[in-house]
Subunit: 501 residues, 2 copies
């Protein structure tokens, strides 16, 4: 058995190494690659991904998994080997159920749809992408149907990123959240808006970058095992547990962009840096779901990084870095500015209170489209109607309306958005559990100390990687299933102090 | 046939893509990778190389090559497809003749030998590396013996990097060259040495880097398809014809380091950037040999970059960049400084006149070791004796003597060094042919214009990649076989003006 297990691990590590190489090719493409490298790079990425898929779906892996099943069954459920075999089998079955020819068709279509979208978006031309989206929807349905036995056709798609989560459950969670959020947004936006003009002076990029790096060093992001570079869209990426990198971007005239994107990505990266080293190169060595991953980025970005305590410590340093720009701006004014709530068009720019309404809109449309309750041609009007309903504003164009997100143009319709809101919910639920264990965490944050929080997260969440499925992890860490109560409580408390609620 | 050819090309491109990915992993490791990434990176590189080897030695490729042989035979010898099939078959046979288990043993040994060397070199401890070198020698002999029918046991090893070249031929060429060089070195070093103290002031790195970039932009290195980064050891690397990068390093107190390493690597890179785009991803898409490659780096570094005409144009700009450091230093003084000839210990730091003596010493030892005329234990004494004979100085330690080069500790003994001297010889032979075609090239260089030379090189050398074997290329471009006459003539003329010869 030991020998077969080693053989399986060796095989899985090869797959991992191909994926890591593809990850580096992508990172390089986003950071340092000269423009002339683009055509060959696309080909190389597709070669690596195809080889990885071929290697992972090799029947030899299936055979090893079968042979090792009695061993897995003999182990306690939370034994590392049991978890490895469970997760490897799940992925193996997922990949082998989808014929290679279909996967190839889907990814070729995604490349084409993405290209059309990049040209159509600036032109506000939904009509041009419509046939591509229709094909995407058809392919997404077909993909789901390779996993028969679902309750809702979106379930298999949701399971790609948030394993164990179902459309019906999400609908209920989101409805409850929505019921709490809509009145909160209405109450806040009826009041005098926060003044965030102090964030919109000229802030030299170099100083913005340096300040962000100082903060995440304090958080405990390990620069011996990571680095930060600039890209058009910020992201975190892992090549091994010893090499987890982040990227950021800066706007000369908007201080919040670079700083909070750095904090956000450092949350993703600390999760991956905190993995059990034994999981290196194996399927367990990765955050357990899109929602749990996002909970870690949101926790550091928002729960910590937009808290008043945090800025009690850092605001003097920020003022010292930008003395001209922040002269005469009090801590309270600054704190209000970085937590300004407003009805805005763009999901990625939205504040904590309105953000989830953007997500739910997309999630509901995904379900309706997959169910056939809605057709692609309805999207532009439906988008604007729902936007009017939720935000009281109508998008002035499609570019910043129905065409704003890449997700539907880069893969599939279904399962693309729920992780963001799950992440927000879980960031508060996990943080509440951390406070239960260590009530002094807020005091420490107010002193720029994050060791207790970071250690708690590493011990309870980071190190486990995929050993626990998302629902099991949440129950284990918080003693409860996923619940919105801590998140609502967090928002009510925080925004109740900033506004009259 | 067309279909089979496409299938072969597709297969070869996959191998190329794995190699390109490995190349990027190595580039990243040398430039931006955080230290924590090292262990997994070594594993990932070895996975990619193994998969590339497995894929290339897949019997399916052999079968396609066999099936396509009649097609190849039906074509004119300089047809692209004929060249592709010829080169692919050569590599396929080379790779399949060596058992995978032996290749794995050899590369595992190289990793170990390299690690021992990096520790033993600072300690001047040849004894520690001796058993590893003995094993390397034994493995190198075994490797050669997978290619029976050679005239000299070094021939198969030389053929890895300089295809078609033989030990006997090289011995004769090197003996002739040596007969011309030794008296030249003696004559020069008997005279007052050049004063290069002007190169040894403090030169800020940023300005050094910027100046070098300006020069190679003028050369025609295409930054849309390349970039320069800093590494411990400079190198050029290609991920595709659209992405050929160089690296450099700078010394604060030695102006010649960064500049000439940039010029050198740009020569390698312009060769690869100048390839026929049709060869992208295929075995033809690469410089044809180590010697021809080195001829291009040496041509731009030395024949152009250390010429008086070149500095007539660039010296004023250099003085403007470094006004303090070069105040009162005349063009003639500067020109003498960058062409200082001296008996020095380190090959990589050697001037144009003495450089080849360093190479020949190593080459002769490689042959003697492979022949069994010499044993590893003899190396330290033999090194010092030969050094005394050729340079009139004895290395004060092993670190800067027998232990100075990585080559024998990173692979094999045999075929590692001849390319450097072949490159020097060919740089002059090719340049002479360029002047025959365009006698105004030196005048243009004196005006900072390199278009004629670059275009001539691209048309005659760069674009062909491996389409022509090295000897065929030399004959085609210069109308003669490889000959040392232009090189001797170049050195005599240049150094005859700088010294009394």
């Amino acid at each position: 058995m030991e020998e077969k297990l080693q053989e399986l691990k060796q095989h899985l590590t090869e797959v991992n190494d191909l994926d890591a190489a593809a990850g580096l090719l992508y990172w390089d493409q986003s950071t340092y690659m000269p423009p002339g490298g683009a055509p060959a790079r696309a080909r190389q990425l597709s070669t690596l991904r195809r080889l990885s898929h071929d290697k992972f779906t090799d029947p030899a892996i299936g055979k090893l998994l079968d042979e090792l099943q009695p061993y897995a069954d003999s182990l306690p459920v939370d034994h590392d080997d049991a978890a490895l075999l469970r997760v490897a089998r799940r992925f193996y079955e997922r990949e082998t159920k989808v014929p290679s020819s279909f996967a190839a068709e889907m990814s070729a279509h995604a490349v084409e749809a993405y290209q059309v979208w990049t040209a159509a978006r600036p032109d506000n031309d939904f009509a041009r992408v419509q046939p591509y989206l229709e094909k995407t929807l058809e392919l997404s349905r077909q993909l789901a149907n390779y996993f028969p036995g679902y309750d809702h056709i979106a379930d298999p798609l949701i399971n790609y990123s948030d394993y164990g989560m179902q459309a019906a459950t999400l609908r209920q969670i989101f409805a409850d959240l929505r019921a709490a959020l809509v009145p909160m947004v209405q109450a806040i936006t009826a009041q005098e808006p926060a003044d965030d003009s102090c964030l919109r002076h000229y802030y030299p990029e170099t100083d913005q970058l340096a300040f962000g790096l100082d903060v995440i060093k304090d958080f405990g992001y390990d620069f011996e095992r990571g680095r930060q570079d600039k890209t058009h869209h910020p992201f975190a990426t892992k090549f091994s547990i010893g090499d987890v990198r982040i990227t950021t971007r800066a706007k000369d005239h908007y201080l919040a962009e670079c700083l909070f994107s750095t904090l956000h990505e450092s949350g993703h990266a600390m999760y991956e840096q905190g993995l059990n080293r034994e999981y290196e190169g194996l399927p367990l060595g990765r955050g357990t779901s899109s929602g749990v991953h996002e909970s870690q980025s949101r926790l550091w970005e928002n729960v910590v990084g937009r808290s008043r305590g945090f800025w009690e410590h850092y605001y003097p340093a920020l003022q010292q870095t930008f003395p001209e720009q922040l002269r005469g701006v009090s801590l309270d004014e600054f704190y209000r500015a970085i937590n300004k709530v407003e009805r805005s068009l763009i999901r990625t720019d939205a504040d904590e209170v309105t953000y989830n309404l953007h997500v739910m809109l997309r999630f509901d449309f995904e379900l309706a489209l997959l169910e056939g309750e809605m057709v692609i041609a309805d999207l532009p009007d439906a988008w604007n109607a729902r936007f009017e309903e939720d935000f009281g504003i109508t998008p002035p164009d499609q570019r910043d309306g129905v065409l704003q997100d890449v997700h539907w143009f880069a893969g599939r319709i279904g399962g693309a958005f729920q992780g963001y809101t799950l992440g927000n919910i879980l960031s508060a639920q996990f943080y509440a559990a951390a406070l239960d264990a260590h009530p002094d965490i807020p005091t420490q944050i107010g002193q720029g100390e994050f060791g207790t929080l970071h250690t708690w997260l590493r011990e309870n969440i980071y190190q486990h990687g995929r050993k626990y499925d998302p629902a099991d992890l949440v129950a284990r860490v918080t003693g409860q299933p996923l619940t919105i109560a801590p998140y609502i409580n967090y928002l009510r408390t925080k925004y109740g102090e900033l506004y009259t609620l």
